[in-house]
Amino acid sequence: MSNAILGKKIGMTQVFDDSGAAIPVTVVEAGPCVIVQIKTDERDGYSAIQLGFGSRNENKVNRPEMGHFRKADVKPHRFLREVRIDNTEGLSVGSTLDASIFSPGDFVDVTGTSKGRGFTGVVKRWGFAGGNKTHGGEQDHRRPGSIGHSSWPSRVFKGKKMPGRHGAKRVTTQNLQVIQADAERSLLLIKGAVPGPPNGLLIVKKAVKQGK
């Protein structure tokens, strides 16, 4: 059985549980995904499945890629992602996975690409406190302050937290609870927020650190 599925973040809303409490949920369009390739220990040195998700115009696919899809006898997909899996038994190339691999109450890890923030300062990027807003804060409101010492070491240490590009990185949020899984509508409701913007690609995987 597969433990992961690819999906698209749709957005957030809320639902009510049996006790009437409002639960914040992210709506994910999960699957259907097709198994395009199966990697095995004997041949590849590790075992994994390659999943295809999303439709793609056939004339936009280059020949090497087309060959790859032909080999699996599946339509070209927009996204191909590989997921490690311990046991590939019972899985076959060309078979389809849908949201029913999860059920309400399951815990999942969701991987996506976080929203890109562009070039940001240290306050936003690293959570620095910045300077005083008043009491003669001068112009040091959001500056990093000193970045090191003088005669020793006479240099700035590697890895010093500085301004720069922030976001647009692969991020995984662990242990999110599945509230609803509906294979018919390819729908997953996941409690809480998941990384990335709406329409972003997500990998929803069974939680590594199962529950709490």
Partner: protein, 118 residues
């Protein structure tokens, strides 16, 4: 219909009476005490409705024992058993925050007398 709407449509209530800010309403909420469940009423003036769709909320203000109090309810919450409109108010703005600074006679709202469905 997009996916979010289709999710929300399972939870959206359709039996909500027509009420707007300025109206005097009585909100019956379900309260759970141990095993038992009972209804508790909260009566006051609606001072705002905010958000849309399933996430819509409304705030009711009342003055109880000389102390002003406000409660915000999620409109579509299953814990809200019913909403009764006691009286429609004639008001000229969407949010009645100005009521917060007033007491007694100054908080009166004229009654709106019109056909029920407008």
């Amino acid at each position: 219909m997009n996916l979010i709407e289709s999710v929300e449509s399972q939870y959206v209530k359709t039996d909500i009476p027509d009420f707007s800010p300025g109206d005097l309403v009585r909100v019956n909420t379900r309260i759970r005490e141990g095993r038992k469940e009972r209804l508790q009423a909260y009566e006051g003036t609606v001072i705002r409705r905010s958000h849309s769709g399933l996430r819509q909320t409304f705030t009711v203000r009342r003055v109880a024992y000389g102390e002003g109090s406000e409660r915000t309810f999620p409109l579509h919450s299953p814990n809200i058993e019913s909403i009764q409109v006691v009286r429609h108010g004639a008001i000229r703005r969407a949010k009645l925050y100005y009521l917060r600074g007033r007491t007694g006679k100054a908080t009166r709202i004229r009654e709106r007398r019109r056909a029920a469905n407008n």
